[in-house]
Amino acid sequence: MGTALDIKIKRANKVYHAGEVLSGVVVISSKDSVQHQGVSLTMEGTVNLQLSAKSVGVFEAFYNSVKPIQIINSTIEMVKPGKFPSGKTEIPFEFPLHAKGNKVLYETYHGVFVNIQYTLRCDMRRSLLAKDLTKTCEFIVHSAPQKGKFTPSPVDFTITPETLQNVKERALLPKFLLRGHLNSTNCVITQPLTGELVVESSEAAIRSVELQLVRVETCGCAEGYARDATEIQNIQIADGDVCRGLSVPIYMVFPRLFTCPTLETTNFKVEFEVNIVVLLHPDHLITENFPLKLCRI
């Protein structure tokens, strides 16, 4: 095995906020003593934007607008060139989390066309004969709680054949009446999305009711932009022909990393929506869309 390099971040959940001090230890373990040309630690935060395949070409002119944006980047020299003794050596470190210039530390987000990621990279430079050692470790940034009072915004909804848009032949649809509500479309990201759905009546048997969480990512700026909606997850809340008149809970936990507070910047936007998808026998698919606003308090 030789020499192993590892970064241990102090907080188990690896979550930090702007202005806090990121601390931890770099662990070097080896059976024998290790010669090295210095160990450095780099903290990096970037926003990676990517254009979807369909958009490439159309927006080539604005290609510049999608180059990665660095939010944070700093390096410290941890150890001067020298030698580590055999066994385990732990070197503690501390990084203050401050954005570059007037930039903002966006919350960590793993999306399709937008990725906001923070990493710690430890490099051990070594002599020509031995390979340099590198260890990367992601840490998570949560944006500061939003100021102002959080006000829930409940939504009631009713779905019938008449309320549907985009229907080819309305006459062919079976009759149904679904009623329900979402407790709030303003959502705290740490709290689940909740609500209720009641199948008041339905001619056709219900096959499934699902909650589809969708991310809407926009890259570009005023001159032109690419806007893409993709599914994050799909949660089934009813399986089979549920009891009429009995409310089925709507409940969905927002997945970590794949969601973040709704974000709007000059270069990109990250928004979320939820679709209530009802599948009827034999092959009807009814979707009701609700834009969400996620925040952290």
Partner: protein
């Protein structure tokens, strides 16, 4: 009619005995003998090597019977080999036993509340079976298929994980069709194993995947009669998974410093453990399908303990509502069942939160397993105390709790506190009915776990509550139950009666019928549990009191059956009283008992037997040589019997007891007393009615009388003549009584008795009698074969014979010929056995009798042939040669 003289044959009893006896033949070891203990010689047959199973359900090799076929084949024939390796029953048994073992492990982790599930589980598996073909559809690639767009974006880490999974999937979808039930069970078992393997090799995601796929199988209700069993099998896997996750997280909390206690709070869990736990919940929250998401979350719900104190109870309503989304009613009901099973403990927490609703608490206590309730008794007491009394009275809650505690034991350390807390409330109950309902239940708990001191306190409290205004009158059933519970737990009656308040408690039963019932219970318990005879004055005093109460309840209206029952109980008590070698004390106890229980005949009978036994014990102790003191004591015993017997009603009881007591008196050398008994018996015989009542039916008494008289004769043989009365005065008196007794018309009983008398007289004319009583000189030694005695004897015989012949003559009518024949033959046999046939007259008489027996063709030829053979056989013995001649004179009648 000619008078036939009687000549008894001289008997050599010793020689006869020796000649009748079978020859003793020593038995060789290997010889057959029906009474020899059965020994099975085990033949060793080679055991078939059986793969993966140690069960012997199908084995024939272990039986000890040598089967020629199997020994020839020596277990190597291909068929039996095949059967051994592919026997599904054996396999099932093996997997089942392994699972059972695992269950036990599970239980130890999950807690004692789950024990019933293990039982239930087996029951379900045995009951819900199918012969239909089943299918398992493990659609491992479900996530991948859907993830089409998403995979693109997922971080590198996630993607590698998915790839890792693909390896497991081997082509994303496995559909196994046409499985038999056994195949299905085996597959599930395999999955269970691969779950554990995956976990052990740190493939947590794979493990989760397996669990998800398995729980998905529960949405398939295609073979509905197998569904319950499927539910059991799959929830086993879920339980395994839940346990693995819990243990893993639990182990993370264990750092170098300390081990987490069993009942920890979330603050004790470290951040890494919490993070891991949270991770699991996030992962599960994103499971696409409803049914697996529900089951998997429910299976690890216990892990919420690491995150927050109230976590589980918060999740519970959500999960419950979640089930509403399941359309298929069967699937949803089973989902609910699983939730209840997984979360018994948490349901409790929830009950607590629901404002301590009394009604709910009561339902919980009556519905849940007693063990479960018992272990949380202190919690329950707390809850009961706090709960609002308006809707549901507290005493009912305490009653329910008490019922549970009667069935299951609370933790040792809590026991006294539980009692104190509970009783504090119970004792404050104002309404005697409420009070007694509660107290009755709690007595059981008290008896079970505490000593007589606590029980005494409790009884005292009950007395205090029930005495005012004679409240006990309305609560006899409960008070009775209390007594029953107390005696059920105190088998040592000396302890029981040293409970001071026990007898005062009994005094509360003032209604006689109830009182007697309670007494019966006590006596019943005493008879059942008292092992050793006792002379403990406390016990004797108390039980005599109890028995007296029972006895005094007897009146003219008491049913026979009831009397029998009471007598049985009192007799049981009397038999258990022993003062050891203090015989005087013992006798005075019997005297006292007699005065107490004079209305119950079976008790008096028992007392007479006991006293007789006491006399014999004394004799045994003195080895037959009574001292002046013991002789007097024995006479006292005899006197006791003599004066007790006349107070009995049953005629045969009296007769037999006279005889029996006479024998005892004789054995103890109380000759005049013995005479008195026998005279009493003789003078009682004329009173024997023609019909007697036996078990409620009237039956003729003659056969009983015959039986008694034969017994009596055997005793009379050894009774020495009284010096002041004539020779054989007892026999004479008895003959007179028999003569005067009004016998049934058309009955030969009297003649049969005379035949027996003839036997007796023959035995009496022997030089040495057949048997003797130690230290009592019978007539043989008194008269020493005096010719005058023998002449008297023979004279008596002649009279008896004349009577017999007279009777035979009267039977010469058509309808009586058969009786004549059989009586004649029986008389012939008597002469043959006891008479001296060298006497010509007697010899002639016997020949005449032989002819008489055959005269009208009524005799059974086979009997006659046998008799003749016997005579011929006898004639071969020395000094019996004259029988040869006789045999020649006895022709056999050929049937025409």
């Amino acid at each position: 009619m000619a008078v036939f003289p009687w000549h008894s044959r001289n008997r050599n009893y010793k020689a006869e005995f020796a000649s009748c006896r079978l020859e003793a033949v020593p038995l060789e070891f290997g010889d057959y003998h029906p009474l020899k203990p059965i020994t099975v010689t085990e033949s060793k047959t080679k055991k078939v090597n059986r793969k993966g199973s140690t069960s012997s359900t199908s084995s024939s090799s272990s039986s000890s019977v040598v089967d020629p076929l199997s020994s020839v084949l020596d277990g190597t024939d291909p068929l039996s080999m095949f059967a051994a390796t592919a026997d599904p029953v054996a396999l099932a048994a093996a997997t089942d036993s392994s699972r059972r073992k695992r269950d036990r492990d599970d239980n130890s982790v999950v807690g004692s509340d789950f024990e019933p599930w293990a039982n239930k589980r087996g029951e379900i598996l045995a009951r819900y079976t199918t012969t239909e073909k089943l299918s398992i559809n493990l659609f491992m690639g479900s996530e991948k298929g859907k993830a089409g767009t998403a995979t693109l974006a997922m971080s590198e880490k996630v993607r590698t994980r998915l790839e890792e999974l693909d390896d497991f999937e081997e082509g994303s979808q496995k559909e196994l069709l046409n499985l038999t039930q056994q195949d299905y069970v085996n597959r599930i078992e395999e999955l269970n194993q691969s779950l554990k393997d995956a976990w052990a090799s740190d493939q947590k995601v794979k493990a989760l995947k397996i669990v998800i796929q398995c729980s998905k199988l529960l949405s398939d209700t295609s073979v509905i009669q197998f569904y319950p069993s499927k539910f059991v099998l799959i929830t086993d896997i879920l339980d395994t998974f839940g346990k693995l996750v819990y243990e893993r997280i639990f182990s993370m909390c264990v750092d170098n410093r300390s081990v987490l206690p069993d009942h920890f709070s979330p603050e004790n869990a470290n951040d890494t453990a919490k993070e891991t736990c949270l991770n699991w919940f996030f992962k599960i929250a994103s499971i696409r399908e409803l049914i697996p998401r529900f089951y998997v979350e429910a299976s690890i719900l216990k892990c919420n303990k690491f995150l927050s104190k109230t976590g589980i109870s918060e999740c519970l309503p959500r999960l419950t509502c979640m089930i509403r989304g399941i359309g298929d009613p069967l699937v949803s009901v089973y989902a609910r069942a699983y939730l209840c099973r997984a979360l018994l403990t948490e349901m409790m927490e929830r009950c607590k939160k629901l404002g301590n609703n009394a009604l709910l608490l009561n339902s919980v206590m009556s519905a849940f397993r007693a063990e479960f309730i018992a272990t949380r008794s202190m919690d329950f007491i707390g809850m009961i105390k706090e709960c609002d009394e308006s809707g549901f009275p507290k005493h009912l809650l305490f009653r329910s709790l008490g019922l549970n505690l009667a069935l299951a034991d609370p933790p040792e350390s809590d026991r006294l506190q539980i009692l104190n807390e509970a009783w504090k409330v119970i004792t404050k109950l104002k309404n005697p009915q409420d009070y007694i309902n509660c107290a009755e239940v709690w007595v059981e708990y008290t008896c079970k776990h505490f000593t007589k001191r606590e029980v005494n306190t409790v009884l005292a409290d009950v007395i205090k509550h029930m005495t005012p205004d004679r409240a006990f009158e309305d609560s006899y059933p409960q008070l009775q139950l209390i007594i029953k519970k107390v005696i059920a737990h105190f088998h040592d009656f000396s302890v029981l009666f040293s409970v001071e308040k026990f007898l005062p408690f009994l005094d509360m039963f003032q209604k006689e019928s109830v009182r007697v019932e309670v007494c019966k219970c006590i006596m019943d318990a005493f008879i059942k549990h008292q092992q050793e005879p006792t002379k403990d004055p406390v016990i004797l005093n108390a039980l005599l009191h109890v028995c007296k109460t029972m006895h005094d309840s007897v009146n003219a209206l008491t049913l026979e059956d009831e009397k029998r029952m009471l007598s049985y109980l009192i007799n049981g008590f009397i038999k258990m009283v022993s003062f050891g070698r203090d015989f005087e004390q013992q006798l005075s106890f019997y005297v006292e008992s007699r005065s107490m229980f004079c209305n119950l005949e079976p008790v008096l009978v028992q007392l007479i037997h006991s006293v007789n036994r006491l006399a014999m014990e004394t004799r045994k102790l003195m080895k037959g040589n009574h001292s002046r003191k013991t002789a007097a004591f024995v006479r006292a015993c005899v006197a006791y019997c003599f004066i007790t017997i006349p107070s009995l009603a049953g005629i045969f009881t009296r007769l037999n007891l006279y005889l029996h007591s006479g024998q005892v008196a004789l054995a103890n050398q109380c000759l005049s007393q013995a005479d008195a008994f026998f005279k009493a018996a003789i003078s009682l015989i004329p009173e024997v009615p023609k019909m007697i009542n036996i078990d409620g039916k009237m039956r003729p008494s003659e056969s009983f009388l015959l039986e008694f008289l034969c017994n009596f004769f055997s005793t009379l043989l050894i009774v020495p003549d009284h010096p002041e009365h004539g020779v054989l005065f007892l026999v004479r008196e008895l003959l007179n009584v028999i003569q005067d007794y009004t016998w049934e018309d058309n009955s030969d009983e009297k003649i049969r008795i005379y035949t027996c008398v003839l036997h007796l007289l023959s035995a009496m004319s022997q030089e040495t009698y057949l048997y003797h009583i130690d230290k009592v000189d019978s007539n043989d030694s008194l008269y020493g074969g005096d010719s005058k005695f023998l002449a008297e004897n023979n004279k008596l015989c002649e009279t008896v014979m004349a009577q017999i012949l007279e009777h035979l003559k009267t039977l010469a009518k058509d309808e009586a010929l058969k009786r004549q024949s059989s009586l004649g033959l029986s008389f012939f046999n008597s002469i043959l056995a006891h008479g001296d046939l060298r006497n010509n007259k007697l010899n002639q008489l016997s020949v005449n009798l032989w002819h008489l027996a055959q005269r009208h063709g009524c005799a059974d030829t086979r009997t006659m042939v046998k008799t003749l053979e016997y005579i011929k056989k006898q004639s071969k013995q020395p000094d019996m040669t004259h029988l040869t001649e006789l045999a020649l004179r006895l022709p056999l009648q050929t049937r025409t």
